[in-house]
Symmetry: C2
Subunit: 213 residues, 2 copies
């Protein structure tokens, strides 16, 4: 069960994959770590080091075989199968997520949406029926749920997460602007715009004051 790959490496792999797919679309067969690095603003050494965690890729002088590396990264990232996904929270943000065309081409199947507002429950939005959050236990009993996307208000997020965890969901993509408290073994990835902006202001301020050294 030990995962020995640094998180920052895992964070970069999907961006490598995306760049490789673009290259494949442009009918490029081979790419060097140098060319790939230029596209992604990372050093060639970084790319070679990141990939070296997973085996030997590429040939000296010839670079990486684009199609083979795509297949390998798909397999490493678990993208060679479908992942069952649910959405909780069908407000403005939730509606934007349901309507987002990017999930299914990548193997993420949005199988259900849930909300506690009776005005929304029963509606079909972009082809997905909105169910009441009280139906979550029954739904998770009868359907596999790999990932839950949380688009609920901050005050509801922890309660909703607790409820889902009790019902066997242990992977969350959370838009809620609070850190979720979860037991070990539950994976949370936060897409909180405030946290992201507060990282940015560090760099903005830092360039104004001339760095920390």
């Amino acid at each position: 069960m030990a995962v020995d790959i640094p998180d920052v490496v895992v964070r970069r792999l999907p961006t490598y994959l995306r760049a490789l797919r673009q290259l494949a679309d442009d009918n490029v067969d081979f790419v060097s770590s140098h060319q790939l690095g230029e596209r992604l603003h990372v050093t060639p050494a970084q790319i070679r080091k990141d990939l070296s965690y997973f085996g030997r890729f590429g040939k000296q002088g010839r670079g990486y075989n684009v199609q083979l590396l795509i297949t390998d990264l798909d397999q490493i990232l678990g993208l060679d199968r479908e992942w069952e996904t649910i959405l909780v929270g069908v407000g403005r943000l939730g509606r934007a997520i349901i309507g987002y065309p990017g999930f299914s081409p990548e193997g993420f199947n949005l199988s259900a949406a849930f909300d506690s507002d009776s005005e929304v429950v029963g509606q079909e939005i972009s082809g997905t029926l909105v169910r009441h959050t009280s139906d979550i236990p029954l739904f998770t009993q009868n359907n596999r749920v790999d990932i839950a996307i949380l688009a609920v208000p901050a005050r509801a997020a922890q309660l909703v997460a607790d409820d889902l965890i009790r019902n066997g969901v242990h992977s969350f993509l959370s838009y809620a602007p609070i850190p979720l408290e979860v037991p070990r073994g539950v994976y949370v990835r936060s897409l909180d715009p405030i946290l992201a902006m507060e990282e940015m202001t560090f760099y903005l301020r830092d360039s104004e004051r001339g760095g920390w050294k």
Copy 2:
């Protein structure tokens, strides 16, 4: 100009700040790195090491003074001032962002929104007037813009970013599901749900197969 603080450290600082603010709301005056670590699921050593980049905080045996550390982190992260923010793209996602109540309490002032759809332009959404994207050059001439939030479709994102960069904007929070190509010195933070989910599936797949070692 040299920034010597590792990105992963900067990424954690806003979460420390948020936990400290919660403690302050609960009238807690002092907190140990152990207590803070438990709340955030990081080790006490990690917290101490992260903070040591910025000076000496806390007293042996007594822990951190919550209010003082909040003040210091606010200053380190540049949150002791206002940041002028604009939004480009006022579709469903953009509307959700405009309506998001979290920005202004943290010092992010959403000063304008832009869209290219004439049906949306001229509308006022949650108190923010939507202008046409062709007004961006004039707006940036007359107003400071620290951060642009991009909520435009993938096909438009690069063009919009290029246009903003030409007009002096060099910090982006992007929801677009593509990696933006930007010159050195331009900072982009991506909130792409697909990239985030593809990191998650690595860990899900990894726990199924028992890790990489």
